[in-house]
């Protein structure tokens, strides 16, 4: 087992991809000389050269569109959009071209493209750099959406994504990059369609993904002290969503709390709650609870940002509320 940070795991994944397949190129804002907005591609330009590690002009729509074209042309491009906030400029290419071309052309072409972006809040960078839109992307048929929360997934999900014939979008939460973790380099590739139980527990299922996993795990620790055994479920993949595993787990705990940094209205947590209600209605001892961000542009000031985002104590209190016997 080797010790590395989430950032180093991403970089190792990129290096392995570039080494193992000449068709792979890395394209995006400041991925080359600058070493990547979050330093995930530091050293790759020097190792693989400007042909395969290409800094792009700040033209999100066109370099994502060019990624699509290059994939049609036989390459296996990895396009980095520095943050999900900037990807809004490329949504037309993503929805109307990447996700649509195969079906609309009657199955004539595939778009083997991987797009990586940083997502989430917590870095005191205010509203325009702190959004979480992975739930939007998970709404689009024709693409896949991955949210690696552990260092191991950050290390190995990229390889699995590159094997997909259709577009795959990887969302890396900004707060995770410095987080250390264990990786077994020999463990080899991971799947990208199953959820995983990160902590066992029989009383309630805490269902989350990406940057909120660590908060859910801490909440579970605090609840254990109150005698409540909370299970923590890492979705890992938002599309396709591993609904059968979620239903299996909730059928045993009979209670579910979904933690999602998106805004509550129309959040991805709402979709998970709806699927539990549809598939597990008679297993529930109470309504599915959701812990999401406050419906506000994420503020700059630290105390306000913390108040806006889901926190460990909010998760724990939500669970305690479910177990309190009043009325």
């Amino acid at each position: 087992m080797t010790q590395m940070t989430y950032r180093e795991a991403v970089r190792a994944g990129l290096r392995e991809a570039l080494q193992s397949d000449p068709r792979v190129i890395l394209m995006g804002e400041d991925v080359g000389r600058y070493g990547g907005g979050f330093a995930c591609s530091k050293g790759l330009l020097e190792e693989f050269g400007p042909e395969r590690v290409r800094d792009t002009p700040l033209s999100e729509s066109t370099f994502v569109g060019a990624g699509i074209g290059a994939a049609l042309g036989g390459l296996r491009p990895i396009v980095e959009v520095m943050t999900v906030n900037f990807s809004l400029l490329a949504l037309d290419q993503i929805v109307n071209n990447a996700a649509t071309l195969r079906h609309m052309s009657g199955g004539q072409m595939s778009v083997p493209l991987v797009v990586r972006m940083a997502t989430g809040a917590g870095r005191r960078v205010a509203a325009q750099h702190s959004n979480s839109f992975e739930g939007w992307y998970a709404h689009i048929p024709g693409i896949k959406v991955l949210t690696p929360a552990t260092v191991r997934d950050a290390r190995f999900m990229l390889a699995a994504a590159l094997r997909e014939p259709d577009p795959v979008f990887v969302f890396e939460h900004t707060m995770l990059y410095p987080v250390p973790g264990e990786v077994d380099e020999q463990a080899g590739p991971v799947d990208i369609n199953r959820a995983a139980v990160r902590r066992a527990g029989k009383d309630v299922s805490l269902i989350t993904y990406g940057g909120s996993l660590c908060k859910a795990l801490q909440a579970a620790e605090r609840l254990a002290a109150d005698g409540i055994e909370a299970e923590v479920v890492d979705l890992r993949v938002l599309r396709p969503l591993d609904t059968s595993t979620v239903l299996e787990l909730v059928a045993r705990t009979h209670r579910a709390v979904v933690i999602d940094e998106g805004w509550r209205t129309g959040s991805f947590a709402a979709e998970i709650s709806a699927r539990i209600m549809e598939g597990g209605f008679y297993d529930l001892d109470g309504p599915v609870e959701r812990v999401c961000s406050a419906e506000v542009p994420i503020p700059y000031a630290g105390h306000l940002e913390d108040a806006a985002l889901p926190q460990v104590e909010t998760i724990a209190n939500t669970v305690r509320e479910m177990f309190s016997h009043h009325g």
């Binding site: 396709p240 609904t243 059968s244 239903l247 299996e248 059928a251 045993r252 699927r275 549809e278 598939g279 597990g280 209605f281 008679y282 297993d283 529930l284 109470g286």
Partner: protein, 392 residues
């Protein structure tokens, strides 16, 4: 001969208005010539013709709006064969319900630990309130899940003696019970009842009835109940405000008199179907209809129309041994008449005390609509009419 039809000029267009003709009958036209102008939402559009030939007749005048495909003019085609104009293509098949999008796979039926009951939350809450143990209840909901109705039935069964009736009838009964409950609660809440009663000498009526039945075959025999219905109907002609309904805060008197007859069903059910135009029917006709109503009520095959529009109701519990009853008005009606049993009583007639068969008649009426004075006149009329049975 080919038709020049209103063309489809846009994705969202269903009809067009002819603005002007550019050709007249007898004009020769070539494929692509502008033949007319048509107004659409987007403005006036010059319309070309796709067949070459001569204009025969113009069928539509400027200013007329017609749906797409309507023939605007007839054209005698040029000899040259037209480039094969396709016949109508078959419409795409009515979309079979598309394969369902990959909604979440059929929910995995959890092995679930023993004792885990499939019960809806609202049913579980009701079970708690009615102290019913869900695990003893057989669920009729999806895949055996227990519903509110299952709990209600379990509670009802536990309270009432086990009726021999098959479960389906029980369902109907519960619903009937709910309907009666709702009507009675509303009546007591909304209608300010006043009650009047009077005792009536039935001697003339009963003797006339016995003689009358001797003359009639068994299939046309009368019961005294039908006399009571007829006198109530006739008395309403003298006090019409009792033959009315209360709707939207005001009284609506009814021209026709349809007396509803309360018929009790054996398992604590009750219905009050109407005998239409009671006042205008003969005793024989009334008896035939009344008999038919009762036997169909017993068999449960009453038509819903009959249940819908009595203008007043009569209920008699004589056979159950009741002397005087204080019935509750059936909303939206505004009165109800009750008759007790016929019983021999000492009665003063011409200064002498004699034994006479008597009956107690009561009226419950809506004080928003009528006052005791009018109620009294009504009962007096009933009494008077019963003294001359031959005139009924």
């Amino acid at each position: 001969m080919a038709d020049f039809v209103m063309p489809k000029l846009g994705a969202d267009m269903s009809a067009g208005t002819l603005v002007a003709w550019h050709k007249k009958p007898g004009d020769v036209v070539r494929r692509g010539d502008i033949v007319a102008e048509v107004e659409t939402d987007k403005g006036v559009i010059e319309v070309e013709i796709f067949t070459s030939g001569t204009i025969e007749r113009l069928l539509i005048q400027p200013g007329e709006s017609v749906p797409i495909g309507t023939a605007l003019a007839t054209v005698r085609e040029e000899a040259a064969a037209m480039v094969g104009m396709p016949s109508a293509t078959p419409k795409p098949p009515a979309p079979v319900k598309p394969a369902a999008p990959p909604t979440p796979p059929a929910p995995h039926v959890p092995t679930g630990e023993i004792g885990r009951v499939r019960i809806s939350p609202s049913a579980r809450e009701l079970a708690r309130k009615l102290e019913v143990d869900p695990s003893t209840v057989q669920g009729t909901g999806p895949r055996g899940a227990i519903t509110r109705e299952d709990i209600e039935r379990a509670a009802a069964v536990r309270a009432a003696p086990a009726p021999a009736a098959p479960p389906l009838a029980a369902d109907r009964l519960t619903r009937m019970r709910q309907t009666i409950a709702a009507a009675m609660t509303r009546s007591k809440r909304e209608i300010p009842h006043y009650y009047l009663s009077t005792t009536i000498d039935m001697h003339h009526a009963m003797t006339w009835l016995t003689e009358e039945n001797l003359k009639r075959p068994v299939t046309e025999r009368l019961l005294y109940g039908v006399l009571l219905l007829k006198v109530v109907a006739l008395a309403l002609r003298e006090v019409p405000e009792l033959n009315a309904v209360w709707a939207d805060g005001q009284v609506v008197t009814s021209q026709a008199i349809h007396v509803g007859v309360a018929i009790s069903l054996r398992r604590c059910g009750l219905i009050a179907p109407a005998l239409h135009d009671t006042d205008r029917q003969s005793l024989g006709e009334l008896m035939g209809k009344f008999r038919d109503l009762v036997s169909r009520a017993r068999a449960g095959s009453l038509r819903s129309s009959e249940l819908s529009d009595p203008t007043i109701t009569v209920t008699s519990l004589g056979e159950q041994g009741v002397e005087t009853l204080y019935p509750i008005i059936y909303p939206p009606q505004v009165a109800i008449v009750g008759f007790g049993k016929v019983v021999e009583r000492p009665w003063v007639a011409d200064g002498q005390v004699v034994a006479r068969p008597v009956i107690t008649a009561t009226l419950s009426a809506d004080h928003r609509v009528s006052d005791g004075h009018r109620g009294g006149l009504f009962l007096a009329a009933v009494d008077r009419l019963l003294q001359e049975p031959s005139k009924l």
